[in-house]
């Protein structure tokens, strides 16, 4: 039994997964950028010279999360479609599951965080999250809206603590965990 399956970590990782899934798919469905949720450009990781997040979409390696946002934006384009209920791309997460893969995550961590949180606190966690669901193309905003085409998708994220946000818990709006690896497949 390792700290990865410590009860507090299991519970905290499940809650972090839920929060991430809620945020990510809402942002994608609303056409908002998801780049801020990736590790790139976050001060603590820049200082630690962390490599940029690895993003692979249906086998295509995407260099930056900004570029991924651009791809999502392009995917949403349907310039001739006059009907807003046939223009959208809507992702619906139907199942997700998360594992803690390193409960003693240290990369880029400020000493303060290492001192403050032990590996069983449910904070310094590196997590592997997988999400399966259905993506609808040419559809409306709501569940059960008619669609033009659909695919099953599987998203795989590796999440790490957002040290900048954890250090200043009062500062709202920052995501508590950031994506270092994202693999997307749909068919």
């Amino acid at each position: 039994m390792s700290t990865n399956s410590h009860e507090t970590n299991v519970r905290c990782s499940s809650e972090a997964a839920k929060s991430f899934v809620d945020w990510y798919y809402r942002a994608v469905n609303d056409g908002k950028p998801v780049a801020p949720g990736y590790v790139n450009g976050h001060a603590a990781y820049d200082r630690a010279a962390h490599p940029p997040a690895d993003i692979c979409v249906n086998g295509l390696v995407v260099a930056t999360p900004q570029e991924f946002d651009k791809l999502l934006e392009q995917q949403r384009q349907a310039p001739k479609q006059p009907d807003p209920s046939k223009k959208r791309v809507r992702y619906e997460a139907e199942a997700y599951d998360v594992h803690v893969i390193n409960a003693d995550y240290r990369l880029g961590a400020p000493q303060k965080m290492l001192d403050l949180h032990s590996p069983t606190d449910g904070v310094r966690m590196m997590m592997a999250l997988s999400v399966t669901g259905t993506v609808y193309f040419g559809t409306g905003r709501n569940k059960d809206d008619d669609y033009w085409e659909k695919q099953s998708f599987h998203d795989r994220f590796i999440l790490v603590p957002n040290w900048d946000a954890l250090e200043r818990p009062a500062a709202r709006g920052g995501r508590r965990y950031l994506v270092v690896s994202h693999n997307y497949r749909a068919n």
Partner: protein
């Protein structure tokens, strides 16, 4: 004008009412139409004669004095049937929303009252009576009532219920009323109800028309010259324009109900001809765009479409239409004729027999109309020079199919974590109790903790309980998508420093036996691994830190299909010494013996014995016997050959 109630409508024109039958309260109330002895006017002649049409021509209210073809008695009954059919369908789709906070009430006694001889069966007078009597504190209305057999059904607000129930036993027009709450929904009209029989009859006739006009080879539904169709003419279905539109709508609805899924419908009907129907505006047949949105070929030739405006209701429909015929319509003489049509239908390649667009151009034009999925590329393996991922994956799936225990010993240790998740699986699914789908079990549930398995032994035990599998061969590279890359940040097993990990995501299919039904089927799956350095002394330099299996829905294989070459016994069962073995699959003969034996021991008859064995026990004799002992008291007497000792 006040809504025409039964007697008043009947009194007009000194003609007997056609709505005398009971139970016809669903449709709008209408006065007797004057009968036109000319009768069978085809859709052609009506539309080309430009008789003032639209719904009002038929309506008692608007069109009492108007000229034009009055529907014959047959046609008005037909219209009622079509309406009943259409409103039934609408009602069915609306029901779930409107039932919230509503209570169903069943009232007995109307049939025995004097009001029963009213043209509407006395329904309206009864409702007025009930509203009057219950509106003591505040005015109460009950909306629509439905006569079903001997009862009147109402759907009323919860708050009004007790006012209504107080009237139980009141006398209405000479008959005592029995009023009680009932479990919804309001029953379908029974076959004893005369108008409903006719609706069914109409439906059958329309279905026969559809069947006779369908060409399997060409996947073509021939709806040309409907006004000249013998069956439809005899039904009076296309006597005037309003009726023709309704009949067409009914035909479309029936077309839709013939297929189980949109995909099946799309595959079966790829072409429709609506030629020679004297269509003035495609709005008349608009529903076809909703019923057959993915139509490939459409023939509208020989109709009366004057200009583009008459075609414009379909300009955003039929996005996959490849071939269109408009010959014989006045709009083909307009100067912007082909350009406008090509612009409106992005997939159009052949117009009136001429090629107007190449297939590639059409595909490009369609992209402007709908969002397009990301292109799919093959596996993306970035696992360094040693090809760790390729080697691991090849080993893993071979061993998972043949020897799960050996697999667990090789690559898993006390710190490895495994969980699986499925979408919505039936409770009988072997995965149901293990699925760690946080979306459905909730992040704070105890299952979220229990269903996360930690340590090689526990994982091995679970695997031994899971159905035997056979993965698609890795040689079929097209069937597998394997993506992987390395990443920093794992804990080094020495306890000091940071190690590099490998994340592998695998997507493919597997064959599996559903143990409850002994059914072979396939599932798509995604399996993700995190590999990291092993502890000293392990068989491999790396181990599985995390293994996460996502399974898609089980798709049973068609019986008799060639793929049946993989019967239950051919799928390897993972042997495991440390855990209970998967029970062997008994043959039919063995099953029959088990049924006999159980019947002998329990006194249950053969049918119940078989149910008991085939159910949860899954042909485990001892389990079946145990479950019998538990459920004995609940079993009905007919479960036994003789009363149990």
């Amino acid at each position: 004008m006040a809504p025409p109630t039964g007697p008043r409508g009947g009194g007009h024109g000194n003609r007997p009412t056609v709505r005398g039958a009971r139970g016809a309260g669903v449709g709008k109330r209408r006065a007797t139409p004057r009968t036109d002895r000319d009768g069978d006017v085809s859709m052609d002649s009506i539309t080309s004669a430009k008789i003032p049409t639209g719904p009002s021509a038929q309506s008692t209210r608007g069109g009492r004095g108007s000229r034009g073809g009055r529907p014959s008695r047959t046609s008005s009954r037909f219209a009622q049937n079509v309406r009943n059919y259409v409103s039934e369908q609408d009602g069915a789709s609306r029901n779930p929303k409107s039932q919230f906070n509503k209570v169903f009430i069943k009232i007995h006694g109307l049939k025995d009252s004097k009001a029963a001889s009213n043209s509407d069966g006395g329904l309206r007078s009864l409702l007025e009576f009930l509203e009057r009597k219950s509106s003591h504190e505040r005015p109460i209305t009950f909306g629509k009532g439905f006569i079903r057999g001997d009862h009147v059904w109402l759907k009323v607000n919860q708050a009004d219920t007790h006012h209504l129930l107080k009237l139980n036993g009141f006398t209405f027009a000479g008959a005592p009323l029995g009023i009680q709450e009932a479990a919804g929904p309001i029953p379908e009209q029974g076959s004893t109800d005369d108008p409903e029989t006719k609706t069914t009859d109409t439906k059958d006739k329309l279905l026969a028309v559809l069947a006779s006009r369908y060409n399997v080879e060409q996947k073509l539904l021939d709806l040309s010259a409907l006004g000249a169709d013998q069956t439809l003419r005899s039904m009076g279905a296309f006597e005037n324009k309003a009726l023709a539109e309704k009949s067409f709508k009914a035909l479309m609805r029936l077309t839709a109900t013939r297929y189980d899924s949109a995909a099946e419908k799309e595959a079966a009907i790829q072409a429709v001809t609506l030629a020679n129907n004297d269509i003035l505006d495609v709005g008349e047949v608009f529903t076809m765009a909703q019923t057959l949105p993915r139509l490939r070929r459409l023939d509208l030739s020989g109709n009366q479409l004057q200009d583009f405006h008459k075609l414009s209701k379909w300009r955003h429909e039929f996005r996959l239409l490849e071939e269109l015929h408009l010959v014989g319509n006045p709009l083909t003489n307009l100067s912007n004729y082909p350009t406008q049509v090509i612009e409106w239908f992005p997939s159009l390649q052949i117009l009136d027999g001429h090629r107007v667009r190449a297939a590639e151009e059409a595909a490009e034009a369609l992209k402007a109309w709908f969002p397009v999925p990301f292109p799919r590329l093959p596996s993306n393996l970035r696992d360094g020079e040693n090809n760790v991922a390729s080697t691991f994956v090849a080993n893993f799936f071979t061993l998972y199919d043949h020897d799960r225990l050996a697999l667990v010993r090789q690559f898993y240790d006390a710190e490895s974590i495994f969980s699986l998740n499925t979408g919505t699986e039936p409770a009988t699914s072997p995965y149901h109790n293990f699925s760690r789908n946080l979306e459905t079990i909730g992040v704070r549930s105890s299952s979220a903790i229990q269903r996360l398995l930690s340590g090689a032994n526990v994982i091995g035990e679970l695997w031994a309980q899971l159905p035997a599998t056979r993965h698609v061969s890795l040689e079929q590279a097209g069937e597998w998508q394997i993506d992987c890359h390395t990443f920093p940040g794992l804990a080094d097993p020495s306890g000091q420093g940071i190690a590099t990990g490998l994340v592998i995501t695998v997507h493919s299919r597997l064959e599996e036996v559903d143990p409850t039904k002994q059914l072979v089927g396939t599932r798509a799956f995604s399996r993700s691994f995190i590999l990291g350095p092993s502890l000293p002394g392990a068989p491999h330099p790396y181990r599985v830190i995390s293994d996460d299996l996502s399974l898609r829905a089980f798709v049973p294989q068609q019986t008799g299909a060639p793929a049946q070459a993989a019967p239950a016994a051919a799928v390897p069962v993972a042997p495991s010494a440390a855990s209970p073995p998967v029970p062997p699959v008994p043959s039919d003969l063995e099953r029959a013996q088990m049924v006999l034996e159980l019947s002998k021991l329990t006194g249950m008859n053969a049918h119940y014995s078989e149910l008991c064995l085939a159910g949860l026990a899954n042909w485990d004799f001892n389990l079946a016997l145990r479950s019998f002992e538990e459920k004995k008291a609940e079993l009905p007497p007919e479960a036994f050959v003789a009363p149990p000792a």
